[in-house]
């Protein structure tokens, strides 16, 4: 087990290094720079700006000093949000993204499992068809579509909920719903097929033969078994949800970190994008590792390789 943990840790560190290196050079290859704006600056001003951010050094030297700073835990200054460094910005945004993403994930897992189990229980009956229709609609409703529709209905027309911002708990409701709808649908589909597979296993037939009632059978025997493939999907889903959604954050004016991926790239704020990529990559790797360990514990058939 220890050897497995060490090997996975080394794999994670090397993956992070590769991703950071690729991102560093790809960003520099993109046209434009952090100081290209509608007000063209004079040559002297541009030289001062480049010197202030060490952008006048050779590229390899910049890469070396970035890696050296990274090893010391310094993610560098933001070129666009000059009064904060990248670590301050990410530390401010990360809890918000974690809270919104965590709530969306929790709701998606709970509702997805419940819908999936119910659909499997009532396979090919009207409840199954009704939920299947909901699931299909959910899959077709990415946040880009769901968010404006929800705001139009609940904030503008009915005025029950706020249209954006984070001033109170009510402000979290619409962004969380926008984020979790497609994931509820995905978890429901996955858990339905897993439940159906588990229902055909000999142990469920044996339990039915012993007279276990249907809901108890589902809750105690089918769902734990069906949860294993669902859990495999929780890792990447969690990384995507927890690292924030650009669409939802911009639409609801939420200061999470998802915005930094796209806006940082558009602004050529190199260090900010690198910091966001670092958080996202680390989240995926660490969450996948945790999920693998959890699967190992849940399913005795899985072996360390």
């Amino acid at each position: 087990m220890l050897r497995y943990v060490i090997r996975r840790t080394l794999f994670m560190v090397s993956t992070i290094w590769v991703v950071v290196t690729l991102t560093f050079f790809l960003l520099r290859a993109a046209p434009g720079g952090p100081f290209d704006t509608e007000r063209a600056v004079s040559a002297a001003v541009e030289a001062n700006l480049r010197a202030a951010y060490n952008l006048d050094a050779p590229l390899l030297e910049q890469y070396g000093s970035y890696l050296a700073d990274l090893l010391r835990g310094d993610l560098g200054p933001s070129y666009k949000q000059k009064d904060f460094n990248v670590a301050e910005l990410l530390l401010h945004g990360l809890p918000i993204s974690l809270l919104i993403g965590g709530l969306a994930l929790a709701i998606a897992v709970v509702l997805g499992l419940a819908f999936g189990a119910t659909m499997a229980r009532y396979r090919n009956r009207i409840i199954d068809s009704a939920l299947e229709s909901f699931v299909t609609c959910g899959l077709a409703l990415p946040p880009l579509v769901a968010a404006p529709l929800l705001v139009l209905l609940f904030a503008v027309v009915l005025q029950w909920l706020p249209a954006g911002g984070l001033d109170s708990g009510w402000h979290f409701i619409l962004p969380v719903i926008s984020l979790c709808i497609p994931y509820i649908a995905a978890f429901a589909r996955l858990s339905r097929s897993s439940c159906l597979e588990a229902l055909n296993q000999p142990f469920t037939t044996a339990a039915q033969a012993k007279g276990v009632n249907t809901w108890r059978l589902l809750w105690h025997h089918v769902l734990p078994s069906a949860f294993v493939p669902v859990l495999s999907f929780v890792g990447p889903a969690a990384a995507t949800l927890l690292a924030g959604s650009m669409v939802v954050e911009v639409f609801f004016a939420i200061p999470g970190i998802g915005h930094y991926f796209v806006q940082g790239a558009l602004d050529r704020d190199y260090t900010l994008v690198l910091g966001a990529v670092l958080v996202y990559t680390s989240s995926i790797l660490v969450l996948n590792f945790i999920i693998d360990l959890a699967l190992l514990r849940l399913d005795p058939r899985i072996r360390l390789t």
């Binding site: 704006t37 001003v45 001062n48 709530l103 249209a163 004016a253 558009l266």
Partner: protein
Amino acid sequence: MKRFCHRLAVGSVFALAGICSAGPDTAVLNIGNSAEPGTLDPHRYFSNAEEHILKDLFMGLTTMGPGAEVLPGVAKSWEVSEDGLQWRFKLDPTATWSDGHPLTAHDFVFGLQRHQDPTTAAPLASFLYCIKNARAVNDGSLPPSELGVGAVDDHTLLIELAHPFPFLPERLLYPIGYPIPKHVVDEHADQWVKAQNWVSNGAYVLDEWRPREYVALKRNEHFKREPAAAIGKVRYYPLSEPATAYNRFVAGDMDIVHGYPHNLIDKVRRERPHEVHNVPLQSIMYLVFNTKKAPFDRVRVRKALSLAIDKRRLVESILGAGEQASASFAPPIVAHYATRIAPHVPSTKEALTLLESAGFNEANPLKLTLRYISSEENKRVYVAIAAMWKAAGIATTLHQANLATHFSDLQSGDFEVAQAGWFGENNPEHYLELLWSKIGPANYGSYASKEFDSLFEKARATANVHARVATLAEAERIALQEHPVIPLYVNVTLNLVKAHVAGWTPNGRNLHPVRFLHWQ
């Protein structure tokens, strides 16, 4: 599994209930700003979103009235030498910083020197190159102490200019002219901009800045000017997406927003006639030709492209928010300026004749790429222009890019015809200098005309504002005969202000100091 599910469900409910407990603070004026400010350091400032906040936090030698007019600020009065090179500002002896520390001429000297110091890396340093030695200080050839500014005594500031610049009081409205608390910068260095260290001299001080959430200001109790701030607390929210700004205004979250979707103009005017404030913005939207690239190095080709555009149709049918078609490059709304440019009369027929004489015809049509910045509004405008050009037999390829890439291409000369825009001051020189061959990369099309340069430089050497503006008008006439740019239209402000906010004065600078606002 059962226990896990139970904990997950209970945890979610508690998390949601906990964050639902806060309520809105109704005493706060909530303003939707167009973007997240990049900095609150006046010398490192660059964008309009920052200027909106900084004008409430600081007061310069001059200050802005409710209609964006130039008023005495910390300087109670000023005198200019006959040659227009020496400006002597008499400061208010009672002026203080928000920590009660006296504000003296030495703070302004420190601020202006810091702004030109190359280590500050001020993006708008060139805006004050009119000060003696500023350019040399900024490029590191001279130390900051050589800048042409000095404190005659604690309450008298002397600014020496490199050339006459009668628009200096207006130029000093920009945050780059604000004083900086030297005693705080000395103590906290770059961290002086943090809320816990904050000291400024405006009607408000920084209370809290939550990145991409809001910037909160509170009244500066040491601010002695009239009118004092009637509204105690202000929050600026970064709402870069116009649809979000509009939704939050309609939902009642925002009292003021500086933008809403352009395609909602008719609806907004119909449903919110007392809240909508669209007035012409001191700005010019234009097309720029790369005059170094054939065939756009030929005047007749540029003129043909200009004649083929029906600007009135553009502003009335395509835009329709109150934009004004412009024949002149200096916006027709700027003060004391009588342009000598004749009104634009579109003529597809004349355009065809000119193109024919330049060797373009049906068999050999003029083909060009028109670059613009990605946005829905721009898409409509530039598709319409391409259609107008098509009627004159011109084949246009539209190329859109984000702002950084667009201006990078323009500055490197990698374009044929491109969208550009300029806004800000209430004088023609601010706009016409973009056609001066010595201005640098802001002259995107690399236009160079000896006659224009000579007239522009003559204007720059003239201290008398009326004579200066008259020379500028002649320079503009000379330049636009060669069509290095096609002025399109004067943009418009898209503000929404709740009826319970009084004191709002629409103005062409689109800046509204909060100290002039009050609750209805």
